[in-house]
Amino acid sequence: MSSVHLNNIVKRFGAVTAVQKTSLEIQEGAFVTLLGPSGCGKTTNLRMIAGLLDPTEGEILIDGKRVNDVPIHKRNLGLVFQNYALFPHKTVAENVAFGLKYRDVPSSDISRRVTEALELVQLPDVGERYPKELSGGQQQRIALARAIVIEPDVLLLDEPLSALDANLREDMRVELKRIQERIGVTTVFVTHDQSEALAMSDQIVVMSAGRVEQVGAPEEVYNTPASEFVANFLGASNILAAECKSRSAEGVELETPIFGKLVVPAEKAPNLGGAGPAKLVIRAEKLLVAAKDAAAPDGVISVPATIEAVDYQGQAVRYFVRAGEAQLQAINMIDQRPFAAGDEVNLRLRPIDCAALPDQ
C-alpha cells in the first residue's frame, strides 16, 4: 500500500500534448478515479504511473520515492486492462501465478496464494481452464486476481468494466469495490462513466483535454462543480447566465432573468469572488415541475413555465421546459402521472440546491 504523487507531469506525443502540467496526490489506500471523456489523457496518466510511458516533464513519486527511472517490472504495480489481457496460452492458475514466479515465492506458497486469489474473486474452481473458456466478466475477475495476488503497492485499472454488459457491469462494480476495501490497496481507476466514478471512488479527478478540472469526493464534484465542464459532464445540469450582486458570509446573491434574485450558499460558490458576471448551475433533478395551481412552500422559488417535451424513463421522467427565454431540463421522479407536452406548470427551485461559477 502506497501513496502516489504526480508532480507537474507533462506528456507530449510529438505535437500532441496528451497530459498538460498535472499534479495529483493520491493517499495511501484511497480509491481514486480519473474521470473524463475519451481522449482526455486518462490512460496516458495511468500508463505513466505504471511505467509504460515516460513523462516528458515532471516526476512521479510512489511512497515518496521518485520512480521516473524505475522500469515497470520493478515497480510492483497491479495493472488491469479493459480487454483483460489474460495470457491465452496459459491456464487461469498459470495466469494468476505468473507474477509470483518473479518474486521468489516458494512453489508451495504459489499454489496457496493462487487459490486464495481465486477465492477472493469468487472463482475458486476455474484454475485448470483456459481464459477463452470463461465469460467476459469471469475473465476480468481473473485479470484482477492476477494483479492483486502479487500484493501490489498500487492497483491501476484502465476502464476494466467497459467491455462488460450493463447488468454485469453493475455487479462487478460492487465486487471490485468490495475486494479493494478488503485488501485496502491504493487504487487508481480510469473510466469515462460518471456513475461508476460516483459509486466507487473516495476521490474523483475530473479531466478534460489533458488537464485536471476538479478533484474531490463524489458529492463534492457532483454538487459543487468547479467548472462548466464538470457541471455538464457529471449528470445533467442547467447552466444559466447570472449577475453576481454581492458576496457575504451566508452566500452569494445572484440575479437571473428567469428566477430573479436568489442567494446561493457560500460553500456552493467557492470560486466566485464578488460582484460581476457569473453562472448559475442547477442540477436537472433539483428543478421540480409542479402543477400550476399548487402553492410553493417557503424558501422555494416558483416561476411559470411550459412543458415542451417529455422523455419518459420509467421511474423518472425528463422534462424539457420553457421558462421565458430559456429551455431547461428537469428530471423528476414520477408521482402518479407525468405532465404532458404543452402543459402550463410551475418550476420550483431551492436556492440552497444551486451552485455558482465565475463566468469565464
Binding site: 517490472h73 495470457f87 518473479y102
Partner: protein, 288 residues
C-alpha cells in the same frame, strides 16, 4: 427455390471457376503422372503401356535416390532454420514499428517484383569469379587471384534463403500482429523483464506463424530445382533436379513420374503432420 437452398448453392457457384481450374490443371495432370509412373520405358525409347512396378522398385530401392532425397531434406532443413533465425527478428521489428510499417512491408514485397530466376542469377554477378566481391577483394589486395565462391552447398542455401526469407518474415509478422501488445505490458507489470515477457508470452503465441513460415520454406525449398541448377555444383543436385533430369534430359517420363510422386508423398506427409497439430488456418492467414 428457398432462401436456404439458394444460400447453400451460392458458395459452389462462386467456387466453380477455381474448382474447374484446379481440377483440369492440377488434378487431371496429377492423375496422368500416376498412370505414367506404372508405364515402362523400353530400350527403344518408346513407352510401354501397362502396369509395371519397375520404376517404383528402382525409385524406392536405389541408394542413389535415397541419398539425394536425404540431401534435399537436409538442405531444406538448414534453409528453414536460417530463415527462422533471420526472419523472426525482422518480423518482430516490422510488427512493432509504429510509423513506417507500410513502407517496411512494401520493401519486403519488393523482391517479388523481380523473377525468382533473375534474383538467383544475380548471385553470379556478386560471387562469381569476375563478380563484385572478387573484384573488390582483388582491388583492395586481400587476394591475388579470384576465388571460386560459387557452385557449392553454401551458395545453394544462400540462394534458397534469399528466395524464401520473405515468406518466413510475412508469416511470423502476421502472427505477431495478432498478439495484443497489452499482453507484454501485463507481463512486464507482473515483474517480467522485456526478454522474459518475450520468452513467456510473445514467442509461444507466435509459434504458429513460425511453424507456418517454416513449413512454407521447407516445402518450397525441398521442391526447388532452379537454385541448385544455377548456384550448385555437380554434387549439389536436389531431388527435383533428378525429376528434371529424368523427364527433360532422358525423356524417361515413367521414371520421372515415379520420382516426382515420391517427393510429393514425402512433402505431403509433412504437410499432413503440420495440419494435424497446427491446422491449415494459420498458413492461410500467413499467405493472405
Amino acid at each position: 427455390m428457398s432462401v436456404e437452398a439458394r444460400e447453400a448453392r451460392q458458395p459452389w457457384i462462386l467456387l466453380s471457376p477455381a474448382l474447374t481450374a484446379v481440377f483440369l490443371l492440377l488434378f487431371v495432370p496429377l492423375l496422368f503422372i500416376v498412370v505414367y509412373s506404372f508405364w515402362l520405358r523400353t530400350a527403344t525409347g518408346a513407352d510401354q503401356v501397362g502396369f509395371f512396378l519397375d520404376n517404383w522398385r528402382e525409385a524406392l530401392s536405389d541408394a542413389f535416390y535415397r541419398d539425394i532425397l536425404l540431401f534435399t531434406l537436409k538442405i531444406a532443413t538448414i534453409t528453414t532454420l536460417v530463415c527462422a533465425l533471420m526472419g523472426y527478428p525482422a518480423a518482430y521489428v516490422i510488427a512493432r514499428s509504429k510509423g513506417n510499417k507500410a513502407l517496411l512491408l512494401l520493401l519486403l514485397m519488393l523482391p517479388f517484383w523481380i523473377s525468382y530466376i533473375i534474383r538467383t542469377m544475380s548471385w553470379i554477378n556478386i560471387l562469381g569469379v569476375s563478380g563484385a566481391l572478387n573484384t573488390a577483394l582483388l582491388y583492395v589486395g586481400v587476394i591475388d587471384e579470384p576465388i571460386q565462391m560459387l557452385y557449392n552447398q553454401t551458395t545453394v542455401i544462400l540462394g534458397l534463403v534469399h528466395f524464401l526469407l520473405p515468406f518466413m518474415i510475412l508469416n511470423v509478422f502476421v502472427s505477431l500482429e495478432g498478439i495484443d501488445t497489452n499482453l507484454e505490458d501485463a507481463a512486464n507489470s507482473l515483474g517480467a523483464t522485456r526478454w522474459q515477457a518475450f520468452l513467456q508470452v510473445t514467442l509461444p503465441l507466435s509459434l504458429p506463424g513460425l511453424a507456418a513460415g517454416g513449413l512454407l520454406c521447407f516445402v518450397l525449398g525441398a521442391g526447388t530445382y532452379i537454385t541448385p541448377l544455377v548456384l550448385g555444383g555437380p554434387s549439389d543436385a536436389m531431388f527435383a533436379n533428378l525429376v528434371f533430369e529424368a523427364i527433360i534430359t532422358q525423356l524417361n517420363w515413367p521414371l520421372g513420374s515415379a520420382l516426382s510422386l515420391m517427393l510429393l508423398a514425402v512433402l505431403g506427409a509433412l504437410v499432413m503432420v503440420y495440419n494435424r497439430y497446427l491446422g491449415m488456418a494459420q498458413l492461410m492467414k500467413g499467405l493472405g
